[in-house]
């Protein structure tokens, strides 16, 4: 810790600073995911979470394994996968909007078929 403080403005940026930034972004995404009702808001929170893990991968690659590229390529593929997942999720959201005219998670149970009443013995 003393080493960190004495080298705070005189050395390269410490790795823990990057980790704290991605920590803030990750838990902002977790808060948004757990507390918002709108489906698009939930998807935006998922994007924040994925972006935070991208930063983590790249930082660990740069600081701990500078000669190798595994973290770099993992982040690259994660960006591509996130694009795919966003496209499919937004297609689903648009389909839900066409059927229900709003995109809140509370109203999704209106998509259920109405079952005929059957008394369970």
């Amino acid at each position: 810790m003393a080493d960190l403080i004495t080298n705070f403005f005189s050395g390269p940026i410490p790795m823990e600073a990057y980790l704290v930034i991605s920590l803030i972004m990750f838990f902002a995404g977790v808060y948004g995911f757990l507390s918002r009702k709108n489906l698009l808001m939930i998807l935006i929170s998922v994007e924040l979470i994925l972006n935070a893990t991208d930063i983590n991968f790249v930082v660990f690659n740069r600081y701990l394994y500078p000669g190798q590229l595994e973290g770099f390529f993992f982040a690259l593929f994660t960006i591509a996968i996130s694009a795919c997942e966003t496209a499919v999720a937004i297609a689903i959201v648009i389909n839900i909007y066409r059927n229900l005219n709003n995109v809140e998670v509370d109203s999704l149970n209106e998509l259920k078929e109405e079952s005929t009443e059957q008394p369970e013995s």
């Binding site: 403005f9 823990e16 972006n51 390529f73």
Partner: protein
């Protein structure tokens, strides 16, 4: 033994080995004898702290905003600042991919989706207080736990090797190569995944006549 030779030795020793703790070198030079001195480090620090502030403030504003289009805009700023962080670390190709794909492609998709499913300027009703308090408690608990792990490991030393920018030719050869540590197979798998997602998204969202 000069510092350059020491660094080359470290580089070759750690290339195929697992994590070993190394001594923190207070000043450093890259493998072509350029010395990084005071003003360059200061500029890097200032830019990093500006980007870090942007990320922290705008990611929290994005998840607590009452208007959806503003959340999408704040997310755009967060993604651009993340691309800036990649640029500071010297990964120029990843900066370009992050800007074009994430900030340029995915955010446009989000803005389309927001404008297709909402009247513009409409405010979202706030969620029930119980749900928000529970979410804050869980997020804060996780934040403190992970923060504790990070703070506990401050004294682990690592070597910051100052590299040149990542060579795009090397990235290309690694992405398309079939040797060890090369990534042709994940590249082909990603292309199949992209095809599946394109077909799936079109099938889901087309108009049923």
């Amino acid at each position: 033994m000069s510092i350059v030779n020491l660094l080359k030795l470290f580089q070759s020793v750690t290339y195929h080995s697992s994590l070993i703790t190394q001594h923190y070198i207070p000043f450093f030079c890259d493998l072509e004898n350029k010395l990084y001195t005071g003003s360059n480090i200061m500029a890097q620090q200032i830019i990093f702290y500006i980007l870090a502030l942007i990320i922290a403030v705008f990611s929290i504003m994005a998840v607590t905003s009452k208007r959806l289009i503003r959340s999408a805009t704040y997310l755009l700023f967060v993604l651009l600042a993340t691309a800036g962080l990649f640029l500071i670390m010297g990964y120029h190709y990843l900066f370009a991919v992050q800007t074009t794909v994430y900030a340029g492609g995915i955010m446009v998709l989000y803005i389309f989706a927001v404008l297709l499913t909402q009247k513009p300027g409409e405010k979202i009703t706030p969620e029930p207080l119980k749900q928000r308090v529970l979410a804050i408690v869980l997020a804060a608990a996780g934040f403190l736990f992970c923060g504790y792990i990070i703070v506990n490991n401050f004294n682990r030393v690592y070597t910051y090797v100052a590299l040149d920018e990542m060579n795009t030719k090397f990235v290309g050869q690694t992405l398309m190569g079939t040797g060890k540590f090369q990534y042709l197979l994940p590249f082909e798998v990603i292309s199949v995944l992209l095809l599946a997602c394109i077909v799936g998204a079109i099938m889901i969202a087309r108009k049923r006549s």
